[in-house]
Amino acid sequence: MLKYTIRRLLLVIPTLFFVALITFGLAKAAPGSPFDRNPDKPPKQEVIDRWNRFYGLDKPVYEQFAMYVVNVAKLDFGLSVVRQRPVVEIIGQGFPVTAQLGLQALLLALAVALPLGVISALKQNTIIDYVSLFFATIGTTIPSFVMAIFFIYFFALGLKLFPITGWGTPQHMVMPTIILAMGAAAFLARITRASMLEAIRQDYVRTARSKGLREQVVVVSHVLKNALIPVATVVGPAAAGLITGSFIIETFFSVPGMGREYVRSILALDYPVIMGTTLLYAFFIIIANLSVDLVYGMLDPRIKVAK
């Protein structure tokens, strides 16, 4: 197990290297430069040359990449081309906001999805089941920014319950958190229901019932315990979805997080910021998936981790 963990952890580095390579390659292959922002008033060639020297863009491409990798290893992601601030500083400012939003959404999703999935499985094919399935379908299908539009229309413009955009007070956080959580909640509820239904039909459940255990005990300690293992495995992908989903939500609600910074840098072709945030996003997704694989092995003794 320890050997496996170490091997998987070591694999994170080459994967991140390739993510950096792909992003860097795209940045270099793309036409246009961050310095020609205003097509009517292009900067003088000597100014561009100076900027290129300043950012190290006058060196051969492989040298630039090597330099970038070395700097990233030292946690230096370079300077934002558009805002002349260190990328680390920009990310450092947005990250706590994004992390808070993401964690709130994940907790909310779990708090809604688990009971909903369990109840609809226990009451299979009743009205409760159909209603929760219907909401799960809506939640997984309707894109978050479309859902956000409906939310703003009804709750902010209509009922005036919450401010439309911004961040800071608890009222500001309600809508972004709910909408970000929605997709993950729907997805987790579907998995929980399916996994519960499978567990209920197992022989050991019949045995537990036939030896006269109370229904509560059967459900909690026999069904639930086994049904939640597959659910644990999809919390990773769900968290990854929250991470990438957050940049649409943050842009939509003007939340000053990393995601909004990411979209802004993409619109401005601010490559140092794009690369820094992409690497960080990829890192979190890899870690989310990795921790799930490891936890899965611990939760389910039937899963033998290979080698």
């Binding site: 994967t15 991140l16 390739f18 993510v19 792909i22 992003t23 795209l26 940045a27 292959a29 793309a30 036409p31 246009g32 379908t137 809506i138 997984t140 299908t141 309707i142 894109p143 920014f145 479309v146 539009i149 409906f150 703003i152 229309y153 413009l157 439309i164 579907r190 998995i191 229901r193 399916a194 990854a240 991470i243 990438t244 649409i248 842009t251 979209v263 993409i266 619109l267 072709l269 794009i274 992409t278 996003y281 990829a282 997704i285 890899i286």
Partner: protein, 325 residues
């Protein structure tokens, strides 16, 4: 139908009821059409197709358009920010059933033309993704060796790259190039979705092939001298088709969502061409003044996405009841 009558005769000999033979696919179609949600979804998709086709069609001298105006027509003097007729507010104009956007363009016409983008972007990249992914997956799974190793290592990296992050980076990098401007940016979106998507399909196909190729029917075909190409296309692929079809059914709305999100963020279809995501992007700054310019495209996206999901769920249940979640 010599075989059928032979079957019936044999059944009569055994004194059992001869049931009409149904293939797996007929069975699946039967189950699909009994699923009310899936049928409703199919009807919506068919309607969306008709709208997209008849948005503007000319055969010879014959012109027909269900859209009342051109999607980019700015009338003079402009009547901008009109609300839909049924709201009955003083900001309505009988010429514009659903109102107008911030430039005074007819929202109904723009919605109709935008359906073309969504329909095309749903199906074309999915076709590319599957042509490429299935071929690579079949070859990698069947032959194994270095091709397989290469594919698996490659997919490991792509998997760490979140789909949408990858998509947006490709599109953002090239949207200002000459290539990015072809067909109002559609071609770049096709290519980007294909680049991001084919890997997953290849991996799925490979997995199917790996589990199928050790089965007896493949062994039997091989023993009578079937070539590798024949084995792959006539024996392995048809048996791996069910999960692939289900994946394709969900890839189509996925692609539509991808385009809508890109256009919403302002890096998708190039204005003034109408796309639902783009209409949301344009209308959103004035959401408080005229919410309908944003709500209408949002409704269109929701309905089409739901329709595709219902069909996808229906197909999954019809093709393999065990996959049901």
């Amino acid at each position: 139908m010599a075989t059928a009558s032979a079957t019936q005769r044999r059944a009569a000999e055994l004194n059992v009821l001869a049931r009409k033979q149904r293939s797996l696919w007929q069975d699946a179609a039967y189950r699909l059409f009994r699923n009310k949600a899936a049928v409703a979804g199919l009807i919506v998709i068919a309607a969306a197709f008709l709208v997209a086709i008849f948005a503007d069609i000319s055969v010879g001298d014959f012109h027909f358009s269900i859209a009342p105006y051109s999607p980019t027509l700015i009338p003079q003097p402009p009547a901008s920010q009109m609300e839909p007729l049924w709201t009955g507010s003083k900001y309505t104009d009988p010429r514009y059933l659903l109102g107008t956007d911030f430039l005074g363009r007819d929202i109904l016409s723009r919605l109709i033309y935008a359906s073309r983008i969504s329909m095309v972007v749903g199906f074309v990249p999915t076709a590319i993704v599957f042509a490429l992914g299935v071929t690579v997956g079949l070859v990698a799974g069947f032959f194994g060796g270095w091709i397989d190793q290469l594919l698996m290592r490659f997919t490991d990296v792509i998997y760490a790259f979140p789909d949408f992050l990858f998509l947006i980076i490709i599109v953002a990098s090239f949207r200002t190039s000459a290539f990015g401007k072809i067909m109002d940016g559609l071609l770049l979106i096709f290519v980007a979705i294909a680049i991001v998507g084919w890997v997953g399909v290849a991996r799925l196909t490979r997995g199917q092939v790996l589990s199928l190729k050790e089965r007896e029917f493949v062994e039997a075909a091989r023993s009578v001298g079937a070539t590798p190409v024949r084995l792959m296309w006539k024996h392995l692929l048809p048996n791996a088709l069910a999960p692939l079809i289900v994946t394709a059914a969900f890839a189509v709305p996925g692609a539509i969502l991808g385009e809508a999100t890109l256009s919403f963020l302002g890096v998708g279809i190039i204005p003034p061409t109408a796309s639902w995501g783009g209409m949301i992007n344009e209308g959103f700054p004035l959401f408080g003044t005229n919410p309908w310019a944003v709500l209408m495209p949002a409704l269109c996206i929701s309905i089409v996405m739901l329709a595709f999901t219902f069909v996808g769920d229906g197909l999954r249940d019809a093709l393999d009841p065990r996959m049901k979640t």
